[in-house]
């Protein structure tokens, strides 16, 4: 949050200080100098982001197979790859699963993360210790968590079913990972668990930035806790919320390792996402052209959200001035 608060005025002032048009070579030289400073960053972006992006787009119009790696030849095949991917039943399903997975994960991660952040922002004994423990899921490698969860969610001998049975909640075992109707929900659940610490930490940081006096003032005015939360906490937290949601979205929409380790896309393709389909097409079927098509769809979706994010931020800056 602090970065945004400080960069906003900075860009504004630098813009206005350059504005006084004393015309002539001075401004031009200064303009040139400014570009010189930006150039390394631009070159870096072009090389490491621009080039792969363009390559990926071009690749989606090519017949790109293992042979290409040996001969260097990748004949263009028009819209063949796109047609093949869009007529693949798996693709439509994976699009829908990705939407559900992303929306479900973000909703769960964010609400639980925010609740915990608010909870821990009041000081009490052992708060630091408990927060540290809650960070654990973040520190465990994704594949390790997935393997552990696979055991916990086992239908016959998993801990979760044993626990549910012990408290008398369920009769038979819940088929967490072995039924197509439940598996996606289980994957979302595990991903929420993994994502809570990130949300909690960032939102907690945001909460610390809100001046205490505002809360004192509101309590003097006799505002209810809910009212305080809605009128002070939420609006002041907004920039942080956008960051958390956008970053969460970017990392969730392309998720691969968690699902591969948890269900490999099964049962009966019920947990196939855009990430797993790209992986399957590119690295198992070695059809890199079709894999690139799905990759492009993912990039497009991410780009839409990145633009929304930038617009939201610009609106913030405008208000700030």
């Amino acid at each position: 949050m602090s970065t945004f608060a400080s960069t906003a005025p900075a860009t504004k002032t630098s813009g206005s200080s350059a504005a006084p048009a004393r015309a002539g070579s001075g401004t031009r030289r200064r303009g040139l100098l400014r570009w010189l400073f930006v150039a390394p960053a631009l070159a870096y972006m072009a090389l490491f982001f621009g080039y792969p992006l363009v390559r990926n787009i071009v690749m989606s119009f090519q017949h790109y197979t293992p042979k290409t790696y040996f001969t260097g030849e990748a004949p263009f095949n028009g819209l063949d790859n796109w047609r093949a991917v869009f007529s693949n039943e798996l693709f439509a399903g994976s699009l829908w699963h990705t939407a559900l997975f992303t929306a479900g994960s973000l909703l769960g991660q964010f609400t639980i993360g925010l609740a915990l952040a608010v909870f821990f922002s009041r000081r009490f004994r052992l708060s630091g210790l408990v927060r540290a423990i809650l960070l654990l899921p973040w520190l465990v490698p994704m594949v390790v968590s997935a393997v552990v969860w696979r055991r916990i969610l086992d239908q016959d001998h998993g801990m979760l079913n044993s626990a549910l049975h012990a408290v008398g909640l369920t009769e038979g075992g819940v088929p967490w990972l072995s039924s197509p109707g439940v598996a996606l929900l289980s994957a979302i659940m595990v991903n929420i668990w993994i994502g809570i610490p990130f949300n909690m930490v960032i939102l907690y940081g945001g909460l610390q930035e809100i001046p205490r006096e505002l809360y004192e003032a509101s309590s003097l005015d006799g505002a209810s806790p809910w009212r305080t939360f809605r009128s002070i906490t939420l609006p002041l937290l907004r920039p942080v919320v956008t960051v958390v949601l956008v970053l969460g979205f970017m990392s969730t929409v392309k998720i691969l390792d968690l699902i591969l380790a948890l269900t490999s896309g099964g049962p009966a393709d019920s947990t196939q996402t855009l990430g797993t389909v790209t992986y399957q097409l590119s690295f198992l079927q070695l059809d890199f052209g079709q894999g690139a098509v799905v990759g492009n769809v993912l990039i497009l979706i991410s780009a839409v959200f990145a633009v929304l994010y930038l617009r939201a931020n610009r609106a913030d800056f405008g208000k700030g001035q």
Binding site: T65, P66, K67, T68, Y69, F70, T71, G72, A84, S87, N88, E89, R150, D154, Q155, D156, H157, P175, L177, S178, S179, P180, T263, S264, G265, G266, P267, A268, D269, S270, Q280, F283, L284, Q285, L286, D287
Partner: protein, 411 residues
């Protein structure tokens, strides 16, 4: 490391080499290794496996004045690593691929037919030959192969008064009889990836199924068998999520009386004390038929190289690795069956507990013999079929019909 080679060379060459080595240091990775070094790309990332491999390589390379260097990456990354190396023209002299991946590479015309580099492949079992072949030409040679068999808990079978089942009907009855408490009669992997497909094939093929024409009307019986085992409770519903490792864990924990698995589990099975086990052939639809399991394992291939002498060196190493003696020793160290028919017989005699595997390998079938480079697509379609049948989404007939459509439009 270069000192020994340099001493034998004239000074000028040595200086040239030194400059080349310095340049190599500057430019980074993509440079030709020393002339007397044969490089290998394989999946021996496990330290024990890596060391064992090196021992065999050294034994073959030293007498002819060569050295062997292994580059090992995880098994599922070998193919993509090899492709990256190919595009920068830095592919190793020997490439060890999974048998099912060979056609993809042979199809690029980037591999040298083994005949052309002087590799002798006579006396190999037919199944091993087909595992390394593409379009009638042999590009890969397997030192040892594996397959699948029925591994059973001898105590539980005895207690239930059943003998190892040989037919599908017997399998169903035996599994049902041994299912009680927390123990299932039968365990197998039906995961939606290579593990599950590998385990489904012996049933699919033995019943008459055909990977080139999935809906030929004969594959349904195998799907029905799996479905029956799960729906009458003889096998856990979790099989759709179990890989071959999970299946072995269930068996070792005493939660499965019988399982389908391969000889690579033998070290684990041999080390545990809880369960007494034995190996039998995979049951077939009708008594008297031969089981047709898939043949698996890695094959070594020689990528094309502008420097033909490097190819020849690779060929020499391959010949030595596949001498009868070396095959037998290698097979024993990795619990796989040697591919020379004579070595396989000796292996069966010396390891009676694994004789069932040695027998199976003779009737085993290569996954890629019929469909070649289309195997990954066909395999995915088959996985889709058994997953949707086991989870009750479709009937066996519909599932295979759809799988055939997927397999033929997928490419």
């Amino acid at each position: 490391m270069h000192s020994r080679a340099e001493r034998r060379l004239p000074p000028a060459t040595a200086a040239g080499l030194a400059i080349a080595t310095a340049a190599l240091g500057l430019t980074g990775c993509a440079a030709t290794p020393a002339a007397d070094t044969v490089t290998v790309l394989n999946s021996a990332t496990d330290t024990a496996e890596h060391t064992a491999n090196q021992k065999f390589f050294d034994r073959c390379a030293k007498p002819i004045g060569l050295k062997v260097e292994q580059i090992s990456v995880p098994a599922d990354q070998v193919a993509s690593k090899a492709l990256r190396m190919a595009s920068s023209k830095s592919l190793t002299d020997i490439l060890e691929l999974d048998g099912s991946e060979l056609p993809q590479f042979a199809g690029t015309e980037g591999l040298r037919p083994l005949k052309d580099v002087g590799v002798d492949t006579s006396g190999f079992s037919g199944s091993a030959t087909s595992l390394g072949s593409y379009d009638g030409t042999q590009y890969g040679i397997a030192r040892s192969v594996n397959s699948l068999a029925l591994i059973y808990n001898t105590k539980l079978l005895k207690a239930a008064g059943v003998t190892p089942p040989t037919t599908w009907a017997e399998l169903k009855t035996a599994a049902k009889k041994m299912t009680h408490g927390s123990t299932y009669g039968m365990a197998f992997s039906a995961s939606p990836n290579a593990d599950g497909v590998y385990q489904f094939l012996p049933f699919f093929w033995s019943g008459g199924g055909d990977e080139a024409k999935l809906d030929n009307g004969k594959g349904e019986a195998a799907l029905q068998l799996w479905k029956d085992l799960v729906s009458d409770g003889s096998a856990s519903k979790s099989v759709v999520n179990w890989n071959q490792q999970d299946v072995n864990d269930q068996f070792v924990a005493g939660r499965a009386a019988m399982m389908i698995n391969g000889p690579w589990q033998v070290p684990v099975l041999g080390a545990q004390k809880k369960v007494d086990w034995a190996v039998a052939r995979i049951p077939v639809p009708e008594a008297g038929q031969d089981a047709i399991p898939p043949i698996g394992g890695t094959v070594m291939a020689v990528p094309k190289n502008e420097d033909r002498s490097r190819e020849k060196n690779a060929g020499k190493i391959l010949n030595c690795l596949n001498s009868q003696k070396n095959q037998l020793k290698w097979g024993e160290s990795v619990n796989n069956v040697p591919t020379r028919a004579a070595a396989a017989r000796a292996y069966a005699e010396q390891n009676p507990k694994l004789a069932a595997f040695a027998d199976l390998v003779t009737t085993a079938r290569s996954r890629t013999a019929e469909v070649g480079t289309r195997w990954p697509v066909v395999g995915d379609a088959l996985a889709g079929a058994f997953q949707s049948v086991l989870t009750g989404r479709t009937s066996p007939e519909q599932a295979l019909h759809r799988a055939q459509q997927q397999a033929s439009t997928g490419k």
